[in-house]
Symmetry: D2
Subunit: 377 residues, 4 copies
Amino acid sequence: MTRIRLGMVGGGRGSFIGGVHRIAARMDGLYDVVAGVFSSDAERNKSSAEDIGVEASRAYGSIEDMIHGEQARADAIEAVVIATPNHLHFEAAKACLEAGLHVICDKPVTATLEDAIKLEKIVGRTGKHFFLTHNYTGYPMVRQMRDMVAAGELGEIRTFHAEYVQDWLTEPMEHRGAKGAEWRTDPSKSGAGGSIGDIGTHAYNLSTFVLGRRPSHLLADLSSFVSGRRLDDNASILLRYENGAKGTMWVSQVAVGNENHFTFRVYGSKGGLEWEQEDPNRLWFTQYGKPKQLLTRGGAQATSGNTGSIRIPAGHPEGFLEAFANLYRDAALVLRGKATDRKLSLPGIREGVEGLEFVDACVRSSSANGAWVDVLA
Amino acid sequence: MTRIRLGMVGGGRGSFIGGVHRIAARMDGLYDVVAGVFSSDAERNKSSAEDIGVEASRAYGSIEDMIHGEQARADAIEAVVIATPNHLHFEAAKACLEAGLHVICDKPVTATLEDAIKLEKIVGRTGKHFFLTHNYTGYPMVRQMRDMVAAGELGEIRTFHAEYVQDWLTEPMEHRGAKGAEWRTDPSKSGAGGSIGDIGTHAYNLSTFVLGRRPSHLLADLSSFVSGRRLDDNASILLRYENGAKGTMWVSQVAVGNENHFTFRVYGSKGGLEWEQEDPNRLWFTQYGKPKQLLTRGGAQATSGNTGSIRIPAGHPEGFLEAFANLYRDAALVLRGKATDRKLSLPGIREGVEGLEFVDACVRSSSANGAWVDVLA
Amino acid sequence: MTRIRLGMVGGGRGSFIGGVHRIAARMDGLYDVVAGVFSSDAERNKSSAEDIGVEASRAYGSIEDMIHGEQARADAIEAVVIATPNHLHFEAAKACLEAGLHVICDKPVTATLEDAIKLEKIVGRTGKHFFLTHNYTGYPMVRQMRDMVAAGELGEIRTFHAEYVQDWLTEPMEHRGAKGAEWRTDPSKSGAGGSIGDIGTHAYNLSTFVLGRRPSHLLADLSSFVSGRRLDDNASILLRYENGAKGTMWVSQVAVGNENHFTFRVYGSKGGLEWEQEDPNRLWFTQYGKPKQLLTRGGAQATSGNTGSIRIPAGHPEGFLEAFANLYRDAALVLRGKATDRKLSLPGIREGVEGLEFVDACVRSSSANGAWVDVLA
Amino acid sequence: MTRIRLGMVGGGRGSFIGGVHRIAARMDGLYDVVAGVFSSDAERNKSSAEDIGVEASRAYGSIEDMIHGEQARADAIEAVVIATPNHLHFEAAKACLEAGLHVICDKPVTATLEDAIKLEKIVGRTGKHFFLTHNYTGYPMVRQMRDMVAAGELGEIRTFHAEYVQDWLTEPMEHRGAKGAEWRTDPSKSGAGGSIGDIGTHAYNLSTFVLGRRPSHLLADLSSFVSGRRLDDNASILLRYENGAKGTMWVSQVAVGNENHFTFRVYGSKGGLEWEQEDPNRLWFTQYGKPKQLLTRGGAQATSGNTGSIRIPAGHPEGFLEAFANLYRDAALVLRGKATDRKLSLPGIREGVEGLEFVDACVRSSSANGAWVDVLA
C-alpha cells in the first residue's frame, strides 16, 4: 500500500494538535506530510516546514496557493489535514473538497452549525472522504464498549454518565498569553461553545459512538466561572432519549486537580461498563450479581474492536497518540479502498454536524435559563 | 462519664440498620441498649431482645408501653434510637420527645415534609436533643473537607459533583421477598422519594455539611427504570446557589457494578477536593498548579475534624461503622454536657427538614417535567 | 449468651493497642472489661480504669493482686487480655493460665523463642484457651484467600510475595520521646527482632494462615538503616517450602510513603490472588487466561470465611477494628462452647511459637551474613 | 535534520519487537527503514519487506549481503537495528560495527557474558555508536526518578524494591507453538537466563539507571515452576551495595494476573518514589512527614528528564511506544551530533555488559544453592 500524500492546513510550530496529527500520520507508516500552509505568519510557515521536513517550495502561503501548486505535480497531495482554530475550518475544508482533496479535520468541525450543515452538503456533492478526528473513539477499550453495547451485553441501556473535566482554565489564562486559551475563549474564533465545544463535543460524540443513538432532548446549565470570560467553562447537561434512556454529562475546564479526566460509564438492565481516559487500557465490566471484571487492551475477552486497534500486547500501555493514530490508519484503509466497512465507525461530517447541533442545543437551553430543548432546533 | 441508657424502636432481627446503630453505640462504650420495641411482631420482638441482651421485661409491645414501663424505673432509658421504616419515624419521635426522651433517628427524618416541619416544632417545644444519623458526616475525611472549605483553602467554591450510586435495585427485588426493597419502593412507607429519599438525602446532606450552604434552586430528572416500580430508582439533579455556585448530583440504585459508590468532589477558585466512600480513609487535595496530594485519616496535614474523629493511626483503615460511631460519640458528649460545641456539626432536626425539602423539590421539579424549582416551596 | 468478663494487663492510657482490644471486645457486645492492671504507674493505672469504666477497686497494682482479688468474687473475670510490651507477656500469661484464666494475648507471643516454647507447655498443661491476636487473619478477604487456596482454586501454589512496610521509624523516633518506638527498638523489651518481630511476624503468620503450611528454610537480610538503632528496621526474606514453593517477604519501617502497607499476593498453577490491607474490602482474583475479577467483602462469590466475618453489606467498608473484632467474636464463641470448630482457624499458642521460630531463624540467617537456615533450629 | 537510514536485522512478520522498533523509529520522523534482513526464511523476508515498504532489492538474504549491497549505494544505510533472538545479536552486531555501521540493539545485548565483553571491545575499537534498547529508561517518569535521586531529593538511598512480573508462561506455552516462548526458554538461543534475562535485565538496568550505581553482591533464588522448563521462570533476588543500600527484585513469568507488571520503588532517608509501568504517566513522591504527592508526565514539578521526554500535555497518556521512541529520538540526536550529552543517559554497550554480568551472577548464585556472590565474577 503506497503512502498517502498529505498537505496540512495549520498545525505549525507551537501547535499542540498539529504535532499530534503528524505523529498519528507517521505511526503506521501510511502517510507522508509533503506540503502545507502551516501558519499565516510567513516566517513561522517556513520554519514549521523545515521542522517537519517539508520542502520549502511546498510550504504555501495560502490554501489556494497550495491547491494550485500541488495540482501541477505528479506527486500531488491527495488529502489535507485541517488543524487550525475552529473558525477557519469551513473555508479550508470547502476549498480542499472542491479541489478534489479528501479531508481529515480536527473537531469541532466548524465554528457554527450553519457552516457544518453547508459543509455536509459540499461533502455530499463532491463525493470526497471527510474524516473528523474525534480521537477518543480510536481507543481500543472504547471500541470494545461500542461492541459490547451493540451485542446486548448490557441489556437494554438505561443510563450513562460522561465526564470531561480539566483544570487548565481555572484562572484567566487567556489574558496571560496562552494562545490556546485565547482563541478557545473567543466566540469569534471558537463559536458559541467554550468548554462544550472544545471538549463537550468529544463527550457527546463518544456517547453516540458507544450507544449508537442520539438524544431527542437535552438541558444545559452553562457557567463562566472566571470573571470576564465570554464562553462557558463549566457545564452540566442532562439528556433524554426516545427509548426512555437518560444521560448526564459534566464538562469543565475549571475543576482543579483534573488534567484530562474523561470518563464514560454506561449501565443497562443486565450490566455496566466504566472507562477512564487517563487509564485507557482498562475497562470495568460488571454483569449484575457477578464480580466486577477488568477487561484490558488486547486481553482476555477482547472484542474485535479492541484487538483490531492495538499494536502491542496487553500490559504494554498504549495511549492518546495510538488512539489518534487508529483513526489515521482506518482512514488510510478507507482511502486506499482496503476496508470500506471501517468507514462506518469513523467519525465524519455527519458526526461533525451532530456535534454542532449539540453545541447549539446547549446554548439554546442555557439561554432559556436551563430549559429542556429539542436537540434538533 | 456514665453510660447513656438507650431504648430502641425498630431495628430488630433481620434489620441491617438496627445492627449498625447498636455497634455504633457500643464502639466507644458510651451507651447501653437496655430496652426496646424491636419489632411489631411479638415473637421477633422477644427474640431480638434476646439477641441484643435486653431483659425480656424491657422488650415492650409498643412505644407507649415502653415509655410507661420505663418511667417507673430508676434506671430508665434516657434516649431512644429510631430505626424503623420512614413512615413510622414521626409518631415514634413525637411520643418519645414528649415523654422527655432524647432521640437519635435514622434518615430521612420522616416520610413527608409536612411531618418533618411538625417534628421540628415539637423538638423546639420539648427542648430535647434530636440527632439524625446522616452517618457519612462522621467520616474523618469528610470532616476534613468541611474544615478545609471553611478555612478557604479552595478559594471561592464554584462547583461540586456528588454521586451516590448503587446497583441492588437493578432488578425488581421488591417482588422477590427483599424486605428492604419492599418498603423502600412503596410510597406509603418511604414517602415521595425512592432513591432520592433513601440515598439522595445523604448526598444532599453531605453537600450542605461540606459547603455550609443550601441551594436556592434545583432541577431533578427522576426515572423508574424497573418496570412497575412506583418510586424513582435513578435521578439526575442540578443545583444552583445564590452566590453563583453550581452543583450536580447523580443518584441511582440501578447502576450495575456499584455497591455503595458515594463520591463527593468540590472545586473552588484555588483548589479541589475529591473523596470516595468506598475508600474513605483518603482525600485528594489539589492546589491549582501543584501536584495532587493524598491526605489521609490521621495523616499529615490532618485538620481537627479529622484527628478528632479517629481511633487508630493512619494506615489502619477505619470504615462505615466507625464513622457512624463518631455521631454516637459526639451525641454522647452533647447529652452529657461535655461538648456542646459538637452539636453545631451534628445533623439534627434542621437537617431532617432540609432533607425532606430536597425530596419535595425534586418531586415538584420532576412532576413539572424536569423544571427548575425553588428549593423552598 | 452471657458476656465474658475480661481483665486487662497493660493497655492503659496512651496505649494504641490497648484501645484496639477494648473496641474489638465491645464491637459485638460479647465481653465486658471489668478489671485490670492497666499500668505499672499507679496514677496511670487509676486514671485508665476511670477512662475505661472499670471500678476503682478492680484496678489492681499487679497481676498477682488481680488474680487474688478476682478469685474472691462471684463475678470474677474469666479471661485476660495481655497488651503490654513483648517482654512482659510471658510472666503475665503464665500467671493467668495457672490461675485458671483464659488468655487473649497480643503478638509476638513472647520476647524469646525459649519463652514461647515454655508457654506452649503451660497452655497444654492448664488446658486453658490461648488466643493470639494476629488480627489480619480476621479480615473477611484474608479468610476468603485461605478458603480459595484450600479449595484448590489456584491449583498448586508456586509462589507468594508478602510486603509489610511502614515509614514511621524513618528517623530515630526512639530518641524523640515516642514510647512505642522506644521499646520496639530495645532488644531487652522487644526481643531479638525489630521490624521482623513487630510486623514481620504478622506477614509470616498470614502466609501460614493462607497457605496452610510452613517453610522449611529461609534466608534473611536484615538492616538497621537508622544510625545507632539496635534492631532491624528493614528486612528482605526468602522462603522455601518442601513442596517446591517459594516465597518472598519484604518488611520495613523506613519505607517513606507507606503508612501500613501490608500486601499479600499468592500464585498457583491455575490462578492468583492479590490483597492489600489498606484497601481491605477487595481481593483480586485471576484465573489463568481470564479477566481479573474484583471480589469484595460480602459480594458475589464470597466464601464462607468471608460471609461469616462481616457485619454490614458490601460497599459499606469495614476496616482494621472489625477484623480485630472478628477474632474476639470467634474467641467468644469458642469460650462459650458455641463453635469449637472456629478454634481451628484462630491463631493461638502454636502460631505464637511459630512466629518466634521465624524471628529466630531470621536472626540466625542474618548473623550468618544472610545464609539459608532451617526454620527449625 | 535529515532522516537516518536504517537497516533491520530480524523483526519481520510476526515479531512483536520488530514492529515496536519500527514504530519507535517512525514516531518523530527521524529515521527511515530502507533495508533489512528481516527473516532467515526467504519468503517471510520478502513479505516482511513488502509490509514495511522496503524495496524488494533491499531485502537481503544475509547480513553480509546487506553490508555489501548497501556499500555500493549513495543512499546506503547508516545504522542497523538488531531485533533477532538473543543468540544472533553478537555476530550481527560485530559484522555491522566492523562495516562502519552504528547499531541499535535489542536487549539482552548477547546470549553470553563472554560475547558481551568481546562486543564491548569491538565497539571501542570501531568507534561506532551502540545503543541498547532498555526502553523503560525512556519513560518520562523514570527519567524524573533518576533526576530526583541524583538531586538528593530522597536523601541517602537505603533500599529499593523492583518487581517485573508477568503471567504468560504460567503454562508450557513453549510446547504449544508460541515462537516467542520457544526461544526464550531454550538456553541455546536465550542464554543462561530465562526470566532473569528476558525481563530481569530490564529491572536491573532500571535500578542502575535510577540509582546511578551497581550492587557489589547479589543472591538469587531461581525456579522453573513449569515442569520440563529448562530456564528460570521465577526469581527472587537480593542485592547489596557498597554504601550499605539494599535492594530486592522479584521477577516472574508465572504470576497469574500480571500482564506486564513492572514496578520500581525507592526509599531514602528523606523521601520515597513509587512507579508502575502499567500506569506510567504517574509517579508517587513522598517527603517524610508530608502527604504523598502524585507527580505526572508533563505536570507540576516535572524535572528536565520528564519535560524533555514528552510529546503531548499532561493528562493525555503516553505509553510504551513513546518511551521506546524516546530512545530512538535521543539516539538520532547523538547520531546527528546535535546532543552528545544525551549519550550519557542512553543505555549502550556498557549497560549490555552489566546486564550479562547480572545474569551470570544470578546463575552462579543459584547454582550455589542461592548463595551470596560478587556481581563481578
